[in-house]
Symmetry: C2
Subunit: 264 residues, 2 copies
Protein backbone atom coordinates (compact mmCIF):
# COMPACT_ATOMS: atom_id res chain seq x y z
CA UNK A 1 0.00 0.00 0.00
CA UNK A 2 1.40 3.37 -1.01
CA UNK A 3 1.44 6.20 1.50
CA UNK A 4 -0.34 9.44 0.68
CA UNK A 5 2.99 11.15 0.12
CA UNK A 6 4.05 8.38 -2.28
CA UNK A 7 0.77 8.82 -4.14
CA UNK A 8 1.33 12.57 -4.38
CA UNK A 9 4.84 12.03 -5.66
CA UNK A 10 3.58 9.72 -8.40
CA UNK A 11 0.91 12.26 -9.40
CA UNK A 12 3.35 15.16 -9.46
CA UNK A 13 5.93 13.14 -11.34
CA UNK A 14 3.35 12.08 -13.94
CA UNK A 15 2.33 15.73 -14.39
CA UNK A 16 5.97 16.71 -14.84
CA UNK A 17 6.39 13.99 -17.49
CA UNK A 18 3.28 15.14 -19.33
CA UNK A 19 4.42 18.77 -19.22
CA UNK A 20 7.79 17.80 -20.70
CA UNK A 21 6.15 15.64 -23.35
CA UNK A 22 3.89 18.55 -24.35
CA UNK A 23 6.92 20.71 -25.07
CA UNK A 24 8.73 17.93 -26.92
CA UNK A 25 5.77 16.96 -29.10
CA UNK A 26 4.47 20.44 -29.89
CA UNK A 27 7.95 21.45 -31.06
CA UNK A 28 7.26 19.16 -34.05
CA UNK A 29 3.47 18.99 -34.39
CA UNK A 30 2.27 20.54 -37.66
CA UNK A 31 5.78 21.76 -38.40
CA UNK A 32 7.19 21.55 -41.93
CA UNK A 33 9.56 18.71 -42.66
CA UNK A 34 8.15 16.28 -40.13
CA UNK A 35 9.42 12.91 -41.28
CA UNK A 36 8.09 9.45 -40.70
CA UNK A 37 10.44 6.51 -40.40
CA UNK A 38 8.99 3.09 -40.89
CA UNK A 39 9.92 0.54 -38.25
CA UNK A 40 8.42 -2.41 -40.06
CA UNK A 41 8.49 -2.56 -43.81
CA UNK A 42 5.14 -4.33 -44.05
CA UNK A 43 3.24 -2.06 -41.70
CA UNK A 44 2.76 1.71 -41.70
CA UNK A 45 4.18 2.71 -38.35
CA UNK A 46 5.63 6.20 -38.51
CA UNK A 47 8.02 7.08 -35.77
CA UNK A 48 8.96 10.69 -35.68
CA UNK A 49 11.74 12.46 -33.96
CA UNK A 50 9.00 13.94 -31.77
CA UNK A 51 8.19 10.46 -30.49
CA UNK A 52 11.78 9.82 -29.43
CA UNK A 53 12.36 13.27 -27.95
CA UNK A 54 9.14 13.00 -25.97
CA UNK A 55 10.16 9.66 -24.43
CA UNK A 56 13.72 10.84 -23.73
CA UNK A 57 12.36 13.91 -21.92
CA UNK A 58 10.15 11.70 -19.76
CA UNK A 59 12.93 9.18 -19.02
CA UNK A 60 15.25 11.99 -17.96
CA UNK A 61 12.73 13.15 -15.36
CA UNK A 62 12.18 9.62 -14.08
CA UNK A 63 15.94 9.06 -13.79
CA UNK A 64 16.10 12.02 -11.43
CA UNK A 65 12.84 11.67 -9.53
CA UNK A 66 12.08 7.93 -9.53
CA UNK A 67 15.37 6.08 -10.07
CA UNK A 68 14.13 2.88 -8.38
CA UNK A 69 11.11 2.42 -10.65
CA UNK A 70 11.17 0.39 -13.86
CA UNK A 71 10.28 2.04 -17.21
CA UNK A 72 8.65 0.43 -20.20
CA UNK A 73 8.47 2.81 -23.15
CA UNK A 74 7.39 2.34 -26.74
CA UNK A 75 10.58 3.76 -28.22
CA UNK A 76 13.34 2.60 -25.88
CA UNK A 77 11.99 -0.57 -24.28
CA UNK A 78 12.41 -1.77 -20.70
CA UNK A 79 14.65 -0.29 -18.02
CA UNK A 80 14.46 -2.62 -14.99
CA UNK A 81 13.74 -1.26 -11.52
CA UNK A 82 13.70 -2.44 -7.90
CA UNK A 83 10.60 -0.71 -6.44
CA UNK A 84 7.95 -3.01 -7.89
CA UNK A 85 6.47 -0.08 -9.85
CA UNK A 86 6.77 0.33 -13.63
CA UNK A 87 6.17 3.52 -15.59
CA UNK A 88 4.59 2.60 -18.91
CA UNK A 89 5.07 5.33 -21.52
CA UNK A 90 3.71 5.92 -24.99
CA UNK A 91 5.29 9.22 -25.98
CA UNK A 92 2.92 9.68 -28.93
CA UNK A 93 -0.05 7.34 -29.16
CA UNK A 94 -1.57 7.84 -32.58
CA UNK A 95 1.47 8.74 -34.67
CA UNK A 96 -0.64 8.59 -37.84
CA UNK A 97 -3.00 11.14 -36.33
CA UNK A 98 0.03 13.22 -35.31
CA UNK A 99 1.34 13.11 -38.88
CA UNK A 100 -2.08 14.15 -40.20
CA UNK A 101 -2.31 17.16 -37.88
CA UNK A 102 -5.38 15.85 -36.06
CA UNK A 103 -5.74 16.66 -32.34
CA UNK A 104 -6.53 13.02 -31.50
CA UNK A 105 -3.09 11.63 -30.64
CA UNK A 106 -1.88 11.79 -27.07
CA UNK A 107 0.83 11.14 -24.55
CA UNK A 108 0.10 8.08 -22.41
CA UNK A 109 1.69 7.73 -19.00
CA UNK A 110 0.83 5.08 -16.44
CA UNK A 111 2.20 3.40 -13.36
CA UNK A 112 1.71 -0.33 -12.85
CA UNK A 113 2.36 -2.63 -9.94
CA UNK A 114 2.40 -6.42 -10.24
CA UNK A 115 -1.36 -6.49 -10.84
CA UNK A 116 -1.69 -3.84 -13.55
CA UNK A 117 -2.01 -0.08 -13.84
CA UNK A 118 -2.76 1.84 -10.63
CA UNK A 119 -2.62 5.31 -12.17
CA UNK A 120 -2.93 6.64 -15.71
CA UNK A 121 -2.80 9.90 -17.63
CA UNK A 122 -3.89 10.75 -21.19
CA UNK A 123 -2.63 14.14 -22.36
CA UNK A 124 -3.58 15.95 -25.58
CA UNK A 125 -0.92 18.64 -25.91
CA UNK A 126 -2.45 20.69 -28.73
CA UNK A 127 -5.83 21.06 -27.01
CA UNK A 128 -4.01 21.35 -23.69
CA UNK A 129 -6.30 18.79 -22.17
CA UNK A 130 -5.27 16.21 -19.58
CA UNK A 131 -7.29 13.24 -18.34
CA UNK A 132 -6.06 11.31 -15.31
CA UNK A 133 -7.36 8.49 -13.17
CA UNK A 134 -6.27 6.43 -10.20
CA UNK A 135 -5.93 6.46 -6.40
CA UNK A 136 -9.66 7.01 -6.05
CA UNK A 137 -10.26 9.87 -8.45
CA UNK A 138 -10.64 10.70 -12.14
CA UNK A 139 -10.28 14.22 -13.48
CA UNK A 140 -10.00 16.19 -16.68
CA UNK A 141 -8.38 19.60 -16.97
CA UNK A 142 -8.76 21.36 -20.29
CA UNK A 143 -10.17 24.30 -22.22
CA UNK A 144 -13.36 24.34 -20.18
CA UNK A 145 -11.59 24.05 -16.82
CA UNK A 146 -11.35 21.09 -14.46
CA UNK A 147 -14.05 18.54 -13.77
CA UNK A 148 -14.61 15.03 -12.52
CA UNK A 149 -14.66 12.24 -15.09
CA UNK A 150 -17.62 9.89 -14.91
CA UNK A 151 -18.63 7.29 -17.49
CA UNK A 152 -22.26 7.19 -18.46
CA UNK A 153 -25.05 4.74 -17.76
CA UNK A 154 -26.33 4.01 -21.27
CA UNK A 155 -28.12 0.73 -20.66
CA UNK A 156 -28.19 -0.93 -24.07
CA UNK A 157 -26.42 -1.06 -27.40
CA UNK A 158 -29.22 0.62 -29.35
CA UNK A 159 -28.38 3.89 -27.55
CA UNK A 160 -24.62 3.48 -27.61
CA UNK A 161 -21.91 5.44 -29.41
CA UNK A 162 -19.00 3.19 -30.46
CA UNK A 163 -15.51 4.38 -31.39
CA UNK A 164 -12.57 2.69 -33.05
CA UNK A 165 -9.51 4.22 -34.66
CA UNK A 166 -9.75 2.38 -37.99
CA UNK A 167 -12.73 0.76 -39.72
CA UNK A 168 -10.51 -2.24 -40.46
CA UNK A 169 -10.38 -3.53 -36.88
CA UNK A 170 -7.70 -6.23 -36.60
CA UNK A 171 -7.73 -9.27 -38.89
CA UNK A 172 -10.71 -10.56 -40.87
CA UNK A 173 -12.29 -12.44 -37.97
CA UNK A 174 -11.73 -9.53 -35.59
CA UNK A 175 -13.23 -7.11 -38.11
CA UNK A 176 -16.28 -9.34 -38.45
CA UNK A 177 -16.72 -9.47 -34.66
CA UNK A 178 -16.40 -5.70 -34.47
CA UNK A 179 -19.03 -5.24 -37.17
CA UNK A 180 -21.46 -7.46 -35.26
CA UNK A 181 -21.36 -4.92 -32.42
CA UNK A 182 -21.29 -1.96 -34.80
CA UNK A 183 -24.52 -3.20 -36.37
CA UNK A 184 -26.31 -2.89 -33.03
CA UNK A 185 -25.31 0.59 -31.92
CA UNK A 186 -26.72 4.04 -32.55
CA UNK A 187 -23.56 5.57 -33.97
CA UNK A 188 -20.04 4.43 -34.93
CA UNK A 189 -17.21 6.91 -35.33
CA UNK A 190 -13.59 6.38 -36.32
CA UNK A 191 -10.27 8.18 -36.13
CA UNK A 192 -9.94 9.20 -32.48
CA UNK A 193 -6.72 7.36 -31.49
CA UNK A 194 -6.28 7.40 -27.68
CA UNK A 195 -8.62 10.39 -27.42
CA UNK A 196 -11.49 7.91 -27.81
CA UNK A 197 -10.66 6.34 -24.45
CA UNK A 198 -10.58 9.80 -22.87
CA UNK A 199 -14.04 10.53 -24.31
CA UNK A 200 -15.33 7.29 -22.83
CA UNK A 201 -13.97 8.23 -19.40
CA UNK A 202 -15.57 11.67 -19.84
CA UNK A 203 -19.03 10.17 -20.38
CA UNK A 204 -19.24 11.19 -24.05
CA UNK A 205 -19.25 7.76 -25.69
CA UNK A 206 -20.08 4.25 -24.54
CA UNK A 207 -17.70 1.82 -26.21
CA UNK A 208 -14.21 1.72 -27.68
CA UNK A 209 -13.34 -1.56 -29.40
CA UNK A 210 -9.92 -2.15 -30.93
CA UNK A 211 -7.52 -4.97 -31.73
CA UNK A 212 -3.78 -5.32 -32.12
CA UNK A 213 -2.91 -2.91 -29.30
CA UNK A 214 0.33 -2.93 -27.34
CA UNK A 215 0.62 -2.84 -23.57
CA UNK A 216 1.76 0.81 -23.67
CA UNK A 217 -1.34 1.71 -25.76
CA UNK A 218 -3.79 0.50 -23.18
CA UNK A 219 -2.47 0.76 -19.62
CA UNK A 220 -3.12 4.48 -19.15
CA UNK A 221 -6.62 4.24 -20.71
CA UNK A 222 -7.43 1.32 -18.40
CA UNK A 223 -6.49 3.32 -15.30
CA UNK A 224 -8.39 6.43 -16.39
CA UNK A 225 -11.53 4.60 -17.49
CA UNK A 226 -11.70 2.32 -14.44
CA UNK A 227 -11.27 5.32 -12.12
CA UNK A 228 -14.16 7.00 -13.98
CA UNK A 229 -16.47 4.00 -13.48
CA UNK A 230 -15.94 2.11 -16.72
CA UNK A 231 -14.83 -1.41 -17.55
CA UNK A 232 -11.88 -2.41 -19.77
CA UNK A 233 -11.11 -6.02 -20.64
CA UNK A 234 -10.01 -8.07 -23.62
CA UNK A 235 -12.77 -9.44 -25.87
CA UNK A 236 -13.12 -12.52 -23.63
CA UNK A 237 -13.57 -10.52 -20.43
CA UNK A 238 -10.03 -11.09 -19.14
CA UNK A 239 -7.29 -8.57 -18.45
CA UNK A 240 -6.46 -6.15 -21.28
CA UNK A 241 -3.22 -5.01 -19.64
CA UNK A 242 -1.05 -6.71 -22.23
CA UNK A 243 -2.91 -5.12 -25.16
CA UNK A 244 -4.28 -7.19 -28.02
CA UNK A 245 -8.06 -7.05 -28.32
CA UNK A 246 -9.51 -4.31 -26.14
CA UNK A 247 -13.14 -3.70 -25.17
CA UNK A 248 -13.65 -0.53 -23.14
CA UNK A 249 -17.17 0.19 -21.92
CA UNK A 250 -18.96 2.86 -19.95
CA UNK A 251 -20.60 0.40 -17.56
CA UNK A 252 -20.90 -3.35 -16.86
CA UNK A 253 -24.24 -3.72 -18.69
CA UNK A 254 -23.05 -2.28 -21.98
CA UNK A 255 -19.77 -4.17 -21.59
CA UNK A 256 -21.62 -7.48 -21.29
CA UNK A 257 -23.89 -6.67 -24.23
CA UNK A 258 -20.96 -5.76 -26.49
CA UNK A 259 -18.95 -8.81 -25.43
CA UNK A 260 -21.86 -11.09 -26.29
CA UNK A 261 -21.87 -9.79 -29.89
CA UNK A 262 -18.07 -9.93 -30.17
CA UNK A 263 -18.25 -13.64 -29.35
CA UNK A 264 -21.55 -14.51 -31.03
CA UNK B 1 -15.70 45.03 -56.35
CA UNK B 2 -15.86 45.53 -52.61
CA UNK B 3 -14.01 48.45 -51.03
CA UNK B 4 -11.40 47.79 -48.35
CA UNK B 5 -13.78 49.06 -45.69
CA UNK B 6 -16.51 46.71 -46.93
CA UNK B 7 -14.00 43.85 -46.79
CA UNK B 8 -13.03 44.79 -43.25
CA UNK B 9 -16.68 44.95 -42.22
CA UNK B 10 -17.29 41.45 -43.60
CA UNK B 11 -14.24 40.10 -41.74
CA UNK B 12 -15.20 41.75 -38.47
CA UNK B 13 -18.80 40.65 -38.80
CA UNK B 14 -17.74 37.07 -39.49
CA UNK B 15 -15.50 37.15 -36.42
CA UNK B 16 -18.40 38.45 -34.32
CA UNK B 17 -20.62 35.63 -35.62
CA UNK B 18 -17.98 33.04 -34.80
CA UNK B 19 -17.48 34.47 -31.31
CA UNK B 20 -21.23 34.29 -30.66
CA UNK B 21 -21.43 30.75 -32.03
CA UNK B 22 -18.59 29.68 -29.74
CA UNK B 23 -20.54 30.79 -26.69
CA UNK B 24 -23.78 29.23 -27.94
CA UNK B 25 -22.23 25.88 -28.82
CA UNK B 26 -19.92 25.49 -25.83
CA UNK B 27 -22.88 26.12 -23.51
CA UNK B 28 -24.06 22.66 -24.59
CA UNK B 29 -20.94 20.77 -25.71
CA UNK B 30 -20.20 17.78 -23.45
CA UNK B 31 -22.99 18.85 -21.11
CA UNK B 32 -25.31 16.23 -19.57
CA UNK B 33 -28.73 15.85 -21.13
CA UNK B 34 -27.76 16.91 -24.64
CA UNK B 35 -30.54 15.59 -26.82
CA UNK B 36 -30.63 14.76 -30.47
CA UNK B 37 -33.77 15.26 -32.48
CA UNK B 38 -34.05 13.39 -35.72
CA UNK B 39 -35.12 15.47 -38.69
CA UNK B 40 -35.51 12.57 -41.08
CA UNK B 41 -36.71 9.24 -39.82
CA UNK B 42 -34.57 7.28 -42.28
CA UNK B 43 -31.33 9.12 -41.65
CA UNK B 44 -29.42 9.83 -38.45
CA UNK B 45 -29.28 13.61 -38.41
CA UNK B 46 -29.20 14.91 -34.86
CA UNK B 47 -30.13 18.50 -34.41
CA UNK B 48 -29.42 19.81 -31.01
CA UNK B 49 -30.64 22.89 -29.29
CA UNK B 50 -27.05 24.10 -29.56
CA UNK B 51 -27.37 24.05 -33.35
CA UNK B 52 -30.43 26.28 -33.27
CA UNK B 53 -29.11 28.66 -30.62
CA UNK B 54 -25.86 29.02 -32.52
CA UNK B 55 -27.65 29.99 -35.74
CA UNK B 56 -30.05 32.35 -33.96
CA UNK B 57 -27.12 34.14 -32.31
CA UNK B 58 -25.47 34.61 -35.71
CA UNK B 59 -28.70 35.77 -37.40
CA UNK B 60 -29.26 38.35 -34.65
CA UNK B 61 -25.86 39.89 -35.33
CA UNK B 62 -26.44 39.92 -39.09
CA UNK B 63 -29.85 41.57 -38.62
CA UNK B 64 -28.11 44.44 -36.85
CA UNK B 65 -24.86 44.71 -38.80
CA UNK B 66 -25.71 43.48 -42.31
CA UNK B 67 -29.49 43.88 -42.79
CA UNK B 68 -29.22 44.08 -46.60
CA UNK B 69 -27.44 40.74 -47.02
CA UNK B 70 -29.24 37.46 -47.58
CA UNK B 71 -28.77 34.57 -45.14
CA UNK B 72 -28.86 30.86 -45.92
CA UNK B 73 -28.60 28.77 -42.76
CA UNK B 74 -28.89 25.05 -42.13
CA UNK B 75 -31.49 25.38 -39.42
CA UNK B 76 -33.68 28.30 -40.52
CA UNK B 77 -33.35 28.37 -44.30
CA UNK B 78 -33.16 31.39 -46.58
CA UNK B 79 -33.72 35.03 -45.64
CA UNK B 80 -33.63 37.06 -48.87
CA UNK B 81 -31.46 40.16 -49.20
CA UNK B 82 -30.84 43.05 -51.59
CA UNK B 83 -27.05 43.51 -51.49
CA UNK B 84 -26.10 40.60 -53.73
CA UNK B 85 -24.19 38.97 -50.86
CA UNK B 86 -25.37 35.88 -48.99
CA UNK B 87 -24.12 34.67 -45.62
CA UNK B 88 -24.08 30.87 -45.64
CA UNK B 89 -24.14 29.44 -42.11
CA UNK B 90 -23.72 25.97 -40.70
CA UNK B 91 -24.07 26.55 -36.95
CA UNK B 92 -22.66 23.10 -36.11
CA UNK B 93 -21.10 21.12 -38.93
CA UNK B 94 -20.57 17.59 -37.64
CA UNK B 95 -23.43 17.22 -35.19
CA UNK B 96 -22.59 13.55 -34.74
CA UNK B 97 -19.06 14.54 -33.75
CA UNK B 98 -20.54 17.16 -31.43
CA UNK B 99 -22.76 14.52 -29.81
CA UNK B 100 -19.75 12.22 -29.37
CA UNK B 101 -17.67 14.90 -27.66
CA UNK B 102 -15.01 14.96 -30.38
CA UNK B 103 -13.30 18.28 -31.17
CA UNK B 104 -13.82 17.82 -34.92
CA UNK B 105 -17.13 19.64 -35.48
CA UNK B 106 -17.09 23.30 -36.32
CA UNK B 107 -18.99 26.46 -37.07
CA UNK B 108 -18.97 27.30 -40.79
CA UNK B 109 -19.50 30.88 -41.92
CA UNK B 110 -19.11 32.14 -45.45
CA UNK B 111 -20.09 35.01 -47.71
CA UNK B 112 -21.04 34.34 -51.31
CA UNK B 113 -21.67 36.61 -54.24
CA UNK B 114 -23.34 35.45 -57.45
CA UNK B 115 -20.29 33.38 -58.38
CA UNK B 116 -19.71 31.50 -55.12
CA UNK B 117 -17.97 32.03 -51.79
CA UNK B 118 -15.62 35.01 -51.52
CA UNK B 119 -14.77 34.55 -47.84
CA UNK B 120 -14.99 31.64 -45.43
CA UNK B 121 -14.34 30.80 -41.81
CA UNK B 122 -14.08 27.43 -40.03
CA UNK B 123 -14.14 27.73 -36.24
CA UNK B 124 -13.50 24.93 -33.72
CA UNK B 125 -14.83 26.38 -30.46
CA UNK B 126 -13.47 23.78 -28.01
CA UNK B 127 -9.90 24.01 -29.31
CA UNK B 128 -10.41 27.75 -29.79
CA UNK B 129 -9.01 27.53 -33.26
CA UNK B 130 -10.20 29.60 -36.22
CA UNK B 131 -9.29 29.15 -39.88
CA UNK B 132 -10.26 31.86 -42.36
CA UNK B 133 -9.67 32.54 -46.02
CA UNK B 134 -10.60 35.09 -48.64
CA UNK B 135 -9.79 38.58 -49.94
CA UNK B 136 -6.23 37.51 -50.64
CA UNK B 137 -5.24 35.87 -47.40
CA UNK B 138 -5.63 32.65 -45.40
CA UNK B 139 -4.91 32.47 -41.69
CA UNK B 140 -5.27 30.23 -38.66
CA UNK B 141 -5.41 31.47 -35.09
CA UNK B 142 -5.31 28.81 -32.39
CA UNK B 143 -3.45 27.25 -29.47
CA UNK B 144 -0.07 27.77 -31.14
CA UNK B 145 -0.77 31.38 -32.14
CA UNK B 146 -1.50 32.83 -35.56
CA UNK B 147 0.02 31.72 -38.84
CA UNK B 148 -0.54 31.75 -42.58
CA UNK B 149 -2.38 28.79 -44.09
CA UNK B 150 -0.72 27.17 -47.07
CA UNK B 151 -1.63 23.85 -48.68
CA UNK B 152 1.21 21.50 -49.45
CA UNK B 153 2.84 20.42 -52.67
CA UNK B 154 2.65 16.62 -52.36
CA UNK B 155 3.08 15.61 -56.00
CA UNK B 156 1.47 12.18 -56.21
CA UNK B 157 -1.09 9.96 -54.57
CA UNK B 158 1.46 7.50 -53.16
CA UNK B 159 2.57 10.21 -50.71
CA UNK B 160 -0.88 11.60 -49.97
CA UNK B 161 -2.97 11.57 -46.79
CA UNK B 162 -6.70 11.30 -47.55
CA UNK B 163 -9.51 12.18 -45.14
CA UNK B 164 -13.23 11.50 -45.18
CA UNK B 165 -15.73 11.70 -42.35
CA UNK B 166 -17.22 8.23 -42.77
CA UNK B 167 -15.78 5.10 -44.41
CA UNK B 168 -19.13 4.61 -46.15
CA UNK B 169 -18.75 7.50 -48.59
CA UNK B 170 -22.10 8.18 -50.29
CA UNK B 171 -23.95 5.42 -52.13
CA UNK B 172 -22.45 2.15 -53.38
CA UNK B 173 -21.00 3.61 -56.59
CA UNK B 174 -19.62 6.64 -54.73
CA UNK B 175 -18.09 4.38 -52.11
CA UNK B 176 -16.44 2.32 -54.82
CA UNK B 177 -15.02 5.44 -56.47
CA UNK B 178 -13.70 6.66 -53.13
CA UNK B 179 -12.02 3.33 -52.47
CA UNK B 180 -10.25 3.49 -55.84
CA UNK B 181 -8.50 6.64 -54.63
CA UNK B 182 -8.05 5.27 -51.10
CA UNK B 183 -6.20 2.28 -52.54
CA UNK B 184 -3.56 4.58 -54.03
CA UNK B 185 -2.69 6.83 -51.10
CA UNK B 186 -0.25 6.52 -48.24
CA UNK B 187 -2.79 6.93 -45.45
CA UNK B 188 -6.57 7.23 -45.07
CA UNK B 189 -8.14 8.63 -41.92
CA UNK B 190 -11.79 9.10 -40.97
CA UNK B 191 -13.88 11.06 -38.51
CA UNK B 192 -12.71 14.65 -38.89
CA UNK B 193 -15.96 16.39 -39.96
CA UNK B 194 -15.22 19.92 -41.23
CA UNK B 195 -11.92 19.92 -39.37
CA UNK B 196 -10.54 17.82 -42.22
CA UNK B 197 -10.92 20.74 -44.64
CA UNK B 198 -9.14 22.99 -42.15
CA UNK B 199 -6.27 20.50 -41.95
CA UNK B 200 -6.03 20.49 -45.73
CA UNK B 201 -5.84 24.30 -45.80
CA UNK B 202 -3.19 24.10 -43.06
CA UNK B 203 -0.95 21.85 -45.17
CA UNK B 204 -1.40 18.78 -42.96
CA UNK B 205 -3.26 16.50 -45.36
CA UNK B 206 -3.62 16.33 -49.14
CA UNK B 207 -7.15 15.23 -49.97
CA UNK B 208 -10.65 15.32 -48.52
CA UNK B 209 -13.23 13.37 -50.51
CA UNK B 210 -16.88 13.26 -49.49
CA UNK B 211 -20.34 12.83 -50.97
CA UNK B 212 -23.83 13.93 -50.06
CA UNK B 213 -22.81 17.34 -48.75
CA UNK B 214 -25.06 20.39 -48.57
CA UNK B 215 -24.18 23.85 -49.81
CA UNK B 216 -23.72 25.11 -46.24
CA UNK B 217 -21.27 22.24 -45.54
CA UNK B 218 -18.90 23.22 -48.29
CA UNK B 219 -18.90 26.96 -49.02
CA UNK B 220 -16.70 27.99 -46.09
CA UNK B 221 -14.21 25.14 -46.71
CA UNK B 222 -14.01 26.15 -50.40
CA UNK B 223 -13.14 29.75 -49.53
CA UNK B 224 -10.55 28.78 -46.91
CA UNK B 225 -8.87 26.08 -49.02
CA UNK B 226 -8.76 28.15 -52.21
CA UNK B 227 -7.27 31.10 -50.32
CA UNK B 228 -4.60 28.71 -48.98
CA UNK B 229 -3.68 27.48 -52.47
CA UNK B 230 -5.82 24.37 -52.79
CA UNK B 231 -8.46 23.23 -55.26
CA UNK B 232 -12.05 22.24 -54.45
CA UNK B 233 -14.45 20.89 -57.09
CA UNK B 234 -17.07 18.23 -57.45
CA UNK B 235 -15.89 14.80 -58.61
CA UNK B 236 -16.18 15.88 -62.26
CA UNK B 237 -14.08 19.00 -61.84
CA UNK B 238 -17.02 21.42 -61.80
CA UNK B 239 -18.17 23.76 -59.06
CA UNK B 240 -18.72 22.20 -55.64
CA UNK B 241 -20.60 25.21 -54.31
CA UNK B 242 -23.91 23.40 -54.21
CA UNK B 243 -22.50 20.46 -52.25
CA UNK B 244 -22.98 16.89 -53.39
CA UNK B 245 -19.72 15.12 -54.25
CA UNK B 246 -16.72 17.12 -53.05
CA UNK B 247 -13.05 16.66 -53.94
CA UNK B 248 -10.74 19.01 -52.03
CA UNK B 249 -7.05 18.82 -52.87
CA UNK B 250 -3.84 20.48 -51.76
CA UNK B 251 -2.72 21.33 -55.30
CA UNK B 252 -3.77 20.91 -58.94
CA UNK B 253 -1.56 17.85 -59.54
CA UNK B 254 -2.96 15.79 -56.70
CA UNK B 255 -6.44 17.00 -57.58
CA UNK B 256 -6.10 15.71 -61.14
CA UNK B 257 -4.64 12.41 -59.97
CA UNK B 258 -7.49 11.82 -57.49
CA UNK B 259 -10.15 12.82 -60.02
CA UNK B 260 -8.79 10.31 -62.52
CA UNK B 261 -9.28 7.47 -60.03
CA UNK B 262 -12.72 8.73 -58.96
CA UNK B 263 -13.83 8.49 -62.59
CA UNK B 264 -11.80 5.45 -63.67
Amino acid sequence: MLTQSEVEDIRHTAAALADAARVATLAHFRKPGLTADTKEATHFDPVTIADRESEIAMRDILARRRPDDAILGEEFGLKPGVSGLTWVLDPIDGTRGFLSGTPTWGVLISVADGNGPIYGLIDQPYIQERFEGGFGRALVNGPMGASVLRTRSTPDLSQAILLSTFPEVGDDAEGEAFRRVAGQVRLVRYGMDCYGYALLAAGQVDLVIEAGLQTYDVQAPIAVIEAAGGVVTNWQGGSACQGGQVLAAANPEIHAAAMAYLNA
